[in-house]
Symmetry: C2
Subunit: 241 residues, 2 copies
């Protein structure tokens, strides 16, 4: 069966930085499913017309086309119920995954509405820098419209952004003192939803989102090593050419 | 078996407003467990000495003494496994509850570190007003020290507080468009953790935290009606004497 994942890339097609695409990459790996990457850039709207919308990730899974990282996670969980569960990774079975799904949906929504906006200003200019010229113009125009300020103004006040990010991450920091992963003993989709934000930053930037003594630091290191180091091996802008 | 719940009260012992105590009241009701209320006020530190600390809720459950609303929830889930599950209320069983627990712990930590601070300024002065004189002095002194400002200064800028609360509630609002409860089809401890904040406000204040067209409004109404209207019948400061 052919599986194709449309993923956002920078000027280099090896620079895959979208947090939402990283959620999906980790989810596929968790399920033990291979997928070929189809690089996609902000202006390639026509290339996604087949999906009925204009954002990535889009997964072609055999005869099915699914867009939106959350919908893809639900699709993978339903279509591959015998592979390790994304929502109940401890192995308690399908009913447990059904029960946990709404809670994971909340955490995913929290990532999208709170963690992503809190983290973004710290490496916004690094995202801009990794893009091709046409994407840079689109990125600047669309984000400046959303924020009502220039990218440079959004990125200013690093100390303030760090303080806000630390506040947003507080419940994660507290719980990772009690358990190794957000999902419990082993990682699940709740972890990948958060980890996507760390990969977003790591691929484009050398900024560190958490200090080494933060439990989130060790948690991130473990996820970088998961699935044979899938995430750790991902190409970064800072890698030697 | 005797079960006693130490709960924070205002000048009137019928005014039970603590969000954490409400989490526990709803959890007990969910498990179908009765408990006698022992009213407690901020200054009664000595009355809690038997628990080894100085905060409520404290539950005496037969020979066991448990403090901290999260620890009480875990205790109830473990000690009464055959009663409806708090963590997996859909009925998928004990393994499902084990799997969901870490996710509920995150949501509970998010409530404590984000939702509670965002909601509090909107009815801070109403809390102050419901207390006895000695508790008022303690409340003012301890909270002004925590905030570094007077209570009145914290409560000012209502429009700003409403905007921040709406932002904090965004992931809940989005998911309650998709499903009736945070825990899925029926409420669980994740719901009670959030609902405690709404009861905290409702008991002391006539302030509305969400507009009628917000999905959180209907969700709150359903929880007010749960368990025979346990929460709806709770005495409010605004009730006629």
């Amino acid at each position: 069966m052919s599986r194709i994942l449309y993923e956002l890339v920078g000027a280099s097609p090896e620079i895959r930085f979208s947090p939402h695409c990283w959620k999906t990459r980790m989810a596929l790996a968790h399920k033990g499913l291979a997928a070929r990457t189809q690089p996609w850039r902000f202006m390639d709207k026509a290339a996604l017309a087949f999906s009925g919308q204009d954002k990535v990730p889009v997964l072609i899974d055999g005869e099915q086309v699914i867009h939106d990282s959350w919908q893809i996670a639900c699709h993978l969980e339903n279509r591959y119920p015998d592979a390790p569960s994304l929502f109940a990774p401890g192995g308690a079975g399908r009913a447990a995954a059904q029960e946990a799904m709404p809670l994971v949906r909340f955490i995913n929504a929290w990532v999208d509405t709170h963690l992503i906006p809190a983290a973004l200003p710290l490496f916004l200019m690094d995202i801009h820098a990794c893009l091709d010229g046409e994407s840079q113009a689109y990125f600047r125009q669309s984000r400046e419209q959303r924020f009502g300020r220039t990218l440079e103004a959004v990125g200013a006040d690093e100390a303030g952004h760090r303080e806000r990010l630390a506040h947003v991450l507080t419940p994660l920091r507290l719980m990772l003192k009690q358990q190794p992963c957000l999902a419990g003993q082993t990682p699940g989709y709740a972890d990948y939803a958060v980890f996507g934000v760390f990969m977003w930053c790591r691929v484009v930037s050398t900024v560190e989102l958490v200090a080494p003594d933060n439990p989130l630091h060790d948690w991130r290191e473990r996820l970088l090593d998961a699935f044979g180091g899938l995430a750790r091996q991902a190409r970064r802008v800072s890698d030697p050419a």
